[in-house]
Amino acid sequence: MLKPILLVEDNPHDLELTLVALERSQLANEVIVLRDGAEALDYLFRRGAHKDRGEGNPAVLLLDLKLPKVDGLEVLEAVRNAEPLRSMPVVMLTSSREEPDLQRAYGLGVNAYVVKPVEFKDFVAAISDLGIFWAVLNEPPPGSARLARRRTPRSGGDEQ
């Protein structure tokens, strides 16, 4: 059974487009959608509405940077500070490359980021790359040396 992909996105349009993109990447993983940072933390820490969910961490966390209540950075920080979650890959979704918070995201140990491209095809390509890398190829436990040499995810996807 594949681990699910956790997608945290508040904007309904972005959410829909991202889901389409994930669908097109033909990943077999289940996609769990959460709509804000607080809900994401509840899910990850199995509390609140999600206290009864099954055990296990998602294959990858796709995290929008700007989220209501608890923003992406705070979620990232919480993940990196929690022993059982620490090694989970986190990919930040951002609206632009110039985002000042990006630096902080790196500081907090994000694995990659995707600038949501305006061009839909590019977006599909970026999401699909990410999904394949993190959800499929990154199956073995994180930290494995083999992984570090693998191809890096396509980041800053709007660079042409």
Partner: protein
């Protein structure tokens, strides 16, 4: 002697002449005699030797005797003596007196003055007092009445000269006026036939040594009745109480320096009288009377002449004060005019203000040219030396640390180091506008070739034994003076300094305003950056959605759309994509303004290579000839320079795509302070008329169908280069290709690197 030795000997003799103690000659002119009384006990302590001739008593017979013993009616005289104003040292006609000693003889006119702790009494033949009332006072009265109607100093002097001649009967009366250097020019003359005329002639300053000028100021009238006199010595030579020689500064009978006697003889003059014209405490001029025969000038006449001289002095002073006030007012008006232009915030600066009214700037200093040297600009107005010469002058002024002001009417002499300069200007006046920087306002006056008519060559001669002989020739001698301009007078210099101080005030205020403005600008810039950032950022999301849904719509429902529908959909996608690019470029443009520069060596050749590789897809299938010339290694922010160069190269590739063979050249030029880098193409070019707009945000030179673009590329280039304190510009002709330049200073200012 060699000329230089001769000049040195002459100079040293002149110096000796200037040191001659003419106020203590130790003798008097013999047409009167002199007694010196100790001031408190009124006993005779010194007397002139000629008492023996004029009074019939030897000096020895007078020494130690009391005032009362010597004179009739002494008690009354002493009463008058006590009422003498103690501060007035001019000889005062006490009374006509007769002596109780010596030969019974005519009465003497007694003139007294106190000086240096003694009472000096001078005795001359009695004047006819009635004659004075009948002749002199009406003359003086007429003179005074006419003075008020006379407009200029020259005409006043003419009037005075005529009156003095009538009152005294001297053969020739001249009025001199002294210039700033002490040379005298004859401005009025009245002379009998047969006398040489001096009107318009110059007399060199050396004719009247400094100490003589001082005496002329102190003692306003001076008579030498007969140059051929035998001086009568004062006995004993030293005051027995003080041990000092007698100070005859104020005595009418004071003996004359032998040099002056010789001067008079050379001039063919037997008798002379001088009336001082003193304006504002300085010797302004002289009324000088000469006669070929000895003249006796009675004290009545002397007093009347002295009075006339004083009235003349006051009148001239009033007129000059008035004229000066008028000029000062005009100069002030000019200053105010210039200041208001400078202070005008619309125009913005000192230089702009001054340039706005060149006529005022020049007219203010009666100059034909001016230079405004401020910070990195040097503005030339009117007739000035060429820019390089002015710049050399500025360096000269700065090195000399000339202070607030420097002026010369003889550039060739005073700024001999700059040989070029005197070819363009005779004189200049410079005021410094900063204590720290070489900021100056400079006015230039042209050379004024003028002819000076000297009364004889202005040279003295050395006689036997190296003593100074006054010149012999008073024949008119013409000198042509080259290389000099009109002199700068005190009023002009003062006004220039006044302007300077006001300008400094403005500069200071402007600096404060600028600092404040800069602060506000910085703040509003920050706000603007933040605003544009968030707008662009927030715009991106909906653009993404439009593009995404249009794409999806095309995929899902494409089959049910007409061709037009599909085209509309494609346009929607295309527009959204373009708007996205626009937003992205704007974001990175704003980033360029904010991000700190990280300076390092930038290897330009490598950079160009990598950009060519990077852009390969853009010109695949085209023929592009690359000419990459040797390029320097710059010190700059590598990422930014990469971006700038990529923009320039991408433009070159884009705008040359209509050419069968595109030729793109990248090169560099080394200049003293800058590296220039250029990118040249053989593309469509642009009209230089729009060159000013080229580097502005959203400025485009071509229609979208011809050449796509967001109009941010060149604006980014400019922003990047200007962040490095550099410059950008371009040259082109429509259809003739274009060359884009950027210049980076070799020393990038420290403030850009953090």
């Amino acid at each position: 002697m060699y000329p230089s030795e001769r000049a040195a000997a002459l100079a040293s003799a002149s110096e000796v002449c200037a040191r001659e103690p003419i106020h203590i000659p130790g003798s008097i002119q013999p047409h009167g005699f002199l007694l010196v009384f100790e001031a408190s006990d009124l006993k005779v302590i010194q007397a002139s030797e000629n008492v023996a001739d004029l009074l019939g008593v030897e000096v020895a017979g007078l020494l130690g005797r009391h005032f009362d013993e010597l004179l009739e009616d002494a008690a009354r005289l002493r009463g008058k003596l006590d009422s003498l104003a103690s501060e007035d040292r001019n000889p005062f006609h006490l009374a006509d007196v007769t002596f109780r000693v010596g030969d019974p003889g005519p009465a003497f006119a007694l003139m007294v003055h106190r000086h240096d702790g003694v009472l000096i009494t001078e005795f001359e033949a009695v004047d006819d007092g009635t004659a004075a009332y009948l002749d002199l006072y009406p003359l003086v009265r007429t003179f005074v009445t006419r003075l008020q109607e006379t407009p200029t100093a020259e005409l006043l002097c003419q009037l005075a000269v005529t009156e003095v001649k009538r009152m005294t009967g001297f053969g020739r009366v001249n009025a001199y006026r002294f210039d700033a250097l002490g040379n005298g020019v004859v401005i009025a003359e009245d002379a009998d036939p047969g006398y040489p005329r001096y009107l318009g002639l110059h007399f060199p300053a050396s004719d009247i040594p400094q100490q003589a000028r001082a005496l002329y100021c102190a003692n306003r009238i001076r008579v030498i009745g007969d140059a051929d006199y035998r001086p009568s010595p004062i006995l004993p030579p030293l005051n027995p109480v003080s041990g000092q020689p007698l100070d005859l500064s104020y005595a009418a009978l004071r003996s004359v320096s032998p040099v002056h006697v010789q001067y008079m003889k050379n001039m063919g003059t037997r008798a002379s009288m001088s009336i001082s014209v003193v304006v504002d405490g300085a010797l302004w001029g002289l009324i000088s009377c000469h006669d070929a025969a000895p003249q006796r000038v009675g004290f009545q006449t002397r007093t009347a002449c002295e009075m006339l001289g004083r009235i003349l002095s006051l009148q001239i002073e009033a007129k000059e004060t008035h004229a000066n006030a008028d000029r000062r007012l005009k100069l002030r008006e000019h200053i105010v005019q210039m200041l208001s232009l400078m202070a005008d915030r619309e125009r913005g600066s000192v230089a702009e203000g001054l340039l706005a009214a060149p006529d005022v700037l020049l007219g203010f200093a009666r100059a034909s040219g001016a230079a405004i040297v401020l910070a990195n600009r040097c503005e030339l107005i009117g007739e000035t030396p060429p820019r390089e010469a002015v710049e050399a002058l500025v360096r000269w002024l700065a090195e000399r640390e000339v202070g607030e002001e420097f002026h010369t009417h003889n550039v060739g002499r005073d700024i001999a180091e700059l040989t070029e300069l005197s070819r363009y200007a005779g004189g200049l006046l410079a005021v410094s506008l900063s204590e720290l920087h070489s900021h100056y306002l400079i006015w230039f006056r042209p050379e004024l070739v003028r002819t000076v008519n000297w009364a004889g060559k202005p040279e003295k001669h050395l006689g036997q034994g190296g003593a100074l002989n006054p010149r012999h020739s008073f024949e008119s001698w013409q000198e042509t003076v080259f290389g000099q301009s009109l002199g700068w007078d005190r009023l002009e210099i003062d006004s220039a300094l006044e302007l300077r101080n006001a300008v400094l005030g403005i500069v200071l205020r402007k600096a404060e305003e600028l600092a404040q403005l800069a602060g506000e600008l910085k703040k509003s810039n920050r706000e603007l950056e933040a605003f544009s950032y968030s707008v662009s950022h927030d715009l991106r999301a909906p653009l993404r959605h439009i593009a995404g849904y249009a794409e999806l719509l095309g995929e899902v429902e494409g089959g049910r759309l007409t061709d037009s529908g599909m085209r509309f959909l494609a346009n929607i996608s295309e527009s959204a994509r373009f708007a996205g690019t626009l937003v992205d470029n704007l974001l990175s443009f704003s980033q360029m303004g904010r991000a700190a520069l990280h300076l390092s060596d930038v290897n330009l050749p490598a950079l160009v290579d990598s950009i060519r590789q990077e852009m390969l897809p853009d010109y695949q299938g085209r023929t592009v000839e690359w000419h990459v010339q040797p390029l320097p290694i710059l010190i700059a922010d590598a990422a930014f320079i990469h971006l700038a160069l990529r923009n320039l190269l991408s433009n070159a590739i884009k705008y040359s795509r209509t050419r069968d063979v595109a030729v793109i050249e990248v090169g560099a030029e080394e200049h003293p302070d800058e590296h220039w880098v250029y990118v040249r193409d053989n593309g469509v070019g642009f009209d230089m008329e729009y060159a000013g707009k080229l580097f502005g945000v959203f400025q485009r030179m071509h229609r979208m169908e011809e050449f796509e673009g967001t109009g941010i590329g060149l604006a980014s280039v400019r922003r990047i280069i200007e962040r490095h304190d550099g410059r950008v510009w371009a040259e082109s002709r429509p259809d003739q290709g274009a060359t884009f330049y950027f210049a980076l200073p070799k020393r990038i200012h420290a403030r850009v690197s953090r």
